[in-house]
């Protein structure tokens, strides 16, 4: 089993799973005031988590472009994308907590950000204390969703969040 822990997010992966918790620096800039009084802008860093039961390619987008094209029928790909903390108060993120028990009915081929024939997707927005996230899941085969969704749930059950990201 692989254990991942970084930026206030942790997950325990089943055997054979790939995972990565990285930070992206494309957030809304923070205005910082230097000791000299100079005002500077610095991009906020926000984590993005990729979990997959296949080998993740090095070159891939936040929502899996570059990876989803490689998926086979039995593959699943999970993204946890953190938004600005202020977003946790927005209506879009009002659902409390990561949804951990997805069902086959939650998946729809039209939910895919990058429509690939045969695949299926699910997207959900939620908040953990002080943090706002998007969960995005891609299944390699919509037809096999009844078999693949439990795989996803098995991993989601292990994900934990710290109230605020580790500095």
């Amino acid at each position: 089993m692989g254990a991942l822990r970084a930026h206030g997010i942790a997950a325990t992966l089943p055997a054979g799973w790939d995972g990565r918790i990285s930070v992206r620096r494309d957030g809304i800039p923070d205005q910082l005031v230097a000791a000299s009084g100079t005002r500077v802008l610095a991009a906020r860093s926000r984590p993005v988590v990729h979990l997959a039961n296949f080998g993740l390619p090095a070159d891939r987008g936040d929502f899996g472009s570059g990876a989803v094209e490689l998926m086979g029928d039995g593959d699943v790909f999970v993204v946890l994308f953190e938004h600005e903390p202020e977003a946790s108060a927005a209506a879009l993120f009002r659902a409390a907590g990561l949804p951990r028990t997805l069902t086959a009915r939650d998946f729809d081929p039209t939910t895919l950000r990058r429509g690939i024939a045969g695949q299926s997707g699910h997207q959900a927005f939620f908040h953990e204390p002080g943090r706002a996230f998007c969960l995005y899941v891609v299944l390699g085969s919509h037809a096999r969703r009844a078999r693949l969704v439990p795989e996803v749930n098995r991993v989601l059950a292990t994900v934990t969040f710290a109230p605020s990201p580790a500095k």
Binding site: L4, A6, G16, W17, G19, S22, N53, G55
Partner: protein, 262 residues
Amino acid sequence: MTALVVTLAVVVALLVLLVVSLLRSHAEILRTLHDAGLGHEADDSTTARRAATSQVAPNGPPSGPSPEARDISGVTPDGDAVAVGILGSPTPTLLSFLSSGCLTCREFWEAFGDPRLEVPGDARLVVVTMSPEDESVSALRRLVPEQTLVVMSTAAWEAYEVAGAPYFAYVDGMSGAVVGEGTASNWDRVRDMVNESVDDGALASSRRRSAARKTRAARRHLADREREARADDALLAAGISPGDARLYPATGGPVEPDPDPS
């Protein structure tokens, strides 16, 4: 005068004795360290010797049987948390255990930066260094080519029983076995090592063994289920159904778990 010459001769003899004993002591220390596998870099002659004798799975590494394959996890030089799934993967994995300080490793760091690099055995290349507390992160950042997956994990070195860099393990995720391993002084040697393990049938035989293990386990499972069904049929034929008090001679019936043990 004679006394002076004799004294000088004695002093010179003592000094010679001292130097000889120091050299012997030094040699002992070096031999002990070598036997213990310490030191991150084997010199070229050692590398060549090990490469020539410890390449592929059928014989395994010189120190004993190959370790079982395991998934690995750690951090990247950029501080990302990373896990690499090896077990069950249909694509074999070539683990390259390197360090930033090992001179022989330089050639591999440079080779991995070549976009035309062909990884032998259709494998996925994963570089494994020691954890940040045992490795220079800043030096690694200068060495690691873009797009190369690097996992910093001392635990992975221990799991694969790696004593020094460079070291390579060709792992078959389907059978969960290390089918080829050893050290090498250049990428061509690694390619030979992996190709030999594939050509020698180590990969195929590893998968056959794995399939045979699964078949035996499935047969055992089926046999257990059949035995259980036969026992149930015999009990039912004797008029004993589930929950029958005769099945629980000590208690007179099935014991319900206490919902509140406190």
